[in-house]
């Protein structure tokens, strides 16, 4: 339940349009600083000012918020692996390149959501970012499932523009999946046609990792509890 709330965190009032607070402030600055390296043109275009775009439907907002939560998780996990530098050289290369891509995805999806973007949850990767075998296995699961989820969502979004954006991210996730599989010595393309997967299955994976330690607070002003 906690993970599902975390990733969706739907706030009907739009109150979550407040800027990222100190919980993620440093991380966010990092995102914005480094995303440019990987993405530039497309990222900038994807992150066009919200005012210039049509309003997203409630359905599309829910889909994009779920994806944003997933991208936050991946971006943070790979960025942490890069920062710690404990993985084998090829895995570390993967984390560096894919981390930059996922940070660019965060920025792009935040751009699509505009004021409806959710803040990042807090994560604890529990040593996974320092253990090559576990990191690789986890990354394969996340990349395969993200690519599969985006297929399902492509049939669910209302806006053809958002569909086009998801399609352009989708194949990058599949590239990531093939690459980490190749590093791990697993067949990069196991089937002739990749199947879609449900959001429920992705939620189960996220919950099983126990990486999410706090949900983005949508009622932040009412409960300013910073203890510890």
């Amino acid at each position: 339940m906690a993970s599902e709330l975390t990733l969706e965190a739907v706030d009907q009032d739009g109150a979550i349009a407040e800027v990222l607070d100190e919980l993620t402030g440093g991380t966010r600055a990092d995102f914005l600083g480094k995303a440019v390296v990987g993405g530039s043109a497309l990222t900038a275009a994807l992150a066009a000012p919200a005012a210039a775009k049509q309003r997203n439907t409630a359905n599309d907002i829910a889909i994009l918020r779920f994806d944003l939560g997933l991208e936050y998780l991946q971006a943070d996990m790979y960025s942490e692996a890069e920062r710690l530098g404990r993985l084998k050289p090829r895995t570390l290369d993967w984390a560096r390149v894919v981390g930059a891509n996922e940070r660019a995805h965060v920025k792009a999806i935040r751009g699509l959501l505009g004021r409806d973007a959710i803040k990042s949850p807090k994560f604890n990767f529990r040593g996974v970012t320092e253990d090559d075998a576990v990191f690789t296995e986890t990354a394969v699961a996340f990349e395969d499932l993200t690519a599969a989820l985006l297929k399902t969502q492509a049939t669910q979004v209302d806006s053809r523009g958002i569909l086009a954006a998801l399609v352009s991210l989708h194949s990058v996730e599949a590239r990531h999946a093939a690459w980490i599989r190749h590093i791990a010595g697993i067949v990069p393309a196991a089937d002739a046609i990749d199947e879609p997967t449900s959001k429920a299955k992705v939620v189960r994976l996220v919950r099983s990792t126990k990486f999410v330690t706090s949900t983005p607070r949508t009622k932040a002003r009412r409960k300013p509890r910073y203890t510890g």
């Binding site: 995303a35 990987g38 993405g39 530039s40 043109a41 497309l42 990222t43 900038a44 275009a45 994807l46 066009a48 775009k53 049509q54 390149v97 894919v98 930059a100 891509n101 996922e102 660019a104 995805h105 792009a108 690519a147 985006l150 297929k151 492509a154 049939t155 806006s159 053809r160 523009g161 958002i162 569909l163 086009a164 954006a165 399609v167 352009s168 991210l169 989708h170 194949s171 990058v172 599949a174 590239r175 990531h176 999946a177 093939a178 690459w179 190749h182 590093i183 067949v187 990069p188 393309a189 089937d191 002739a192 046609i193 990749d194 199947e195 879609p196």
Partner: protein, 202 residues
């Protein structure tokens, strides 16, 4: 590993050249997405689905032909040979799936191609595979927004595997498998031009 000695490394100049080309294409794709335009053809319909699938079948026939010829000529060793077999099987399955979706085999095998040494020389094969996979992926990505929901899963299910092929081949070639955070779509005209640029059209 065995394929370390088999897979030639592309020169730095080639890497840079490819990166630049990709960045150029990306700008077009980025603007397309950022501006949230409609589909490039018209509103999705069953009739339009058919035209799109016929087009993508043509692209798949090029891919299938490259790997089938490489496998038949049998000159590629190690992981390159394995790749030609695995990817070839999948491209032939894509041709069959698209033909099924279109109501049966078209009878046409598509245009003729002359791959020259690209199906026997390891270095040329890698370059050809990267070129053909990248242009195919962009062609598939470009058509998804033109499809009805009924066909989106089929086309994305294939595009996803093309993206995996790109990732695999680029890693083998020691090129960044995912050099950009988003893949640019290509129109039919852009893809036709890219196919012509390969020099494989007989």
């Amino acid at each position: 590993m065995e394929w370390d000695s088999v897979s030639p490394r592309l020169t730095r100049a080639q890497v840079v050249a490819r990166g630049t080309a990709a960045a150029g294409a990306l700008t077009a794709g980025g603007l397309l997405i950022g501006g949230l335009p409609g589909p490039s053809l018209s509103q999705p319909s069953a009739a339009q689905d058919e035209r799109v699938l016929e087009w993508l079948l043509e692209v798949e026939q090029l891919e299938a032909r490259l790997y089938t010829e490489a496998e038949q000529r049998g000159a590629l060793r190690g992981e390159l040979g394995e790749l030609a077999k695995v990817v070839g099987d999948q491209e032939r399955a894509h041709v069959a799936a698209l033909e099924r979706a279109l109501g049966g085999a078209s009878g046409s095998k598509g245009p003729a191609f002359d791959f020259g040494e690209a199906t026997t020389d390891p270095r040329q094969f890698l370059e050809a595979a990267i070129e053909v996979e990248e242009l195919s992926l962009a062609a598939f990505n470009g058509q998804v927004p033109n499809l009805t929901d009924r066909r989106i899963l089929l086309v994305m299910g294939i595009a996803s595997v093309e993206a995996r092929h790109v990732g695999w081949v680029r890693d083998l070639a020691r090129l960044n498998p995912a050099p950009q955070p988003a893949d640019a779509p290509a129109t039919q005209a852009q893809t036709r031009a890219a196919i012509k640029d390969t020099g494989f059209t007989a």
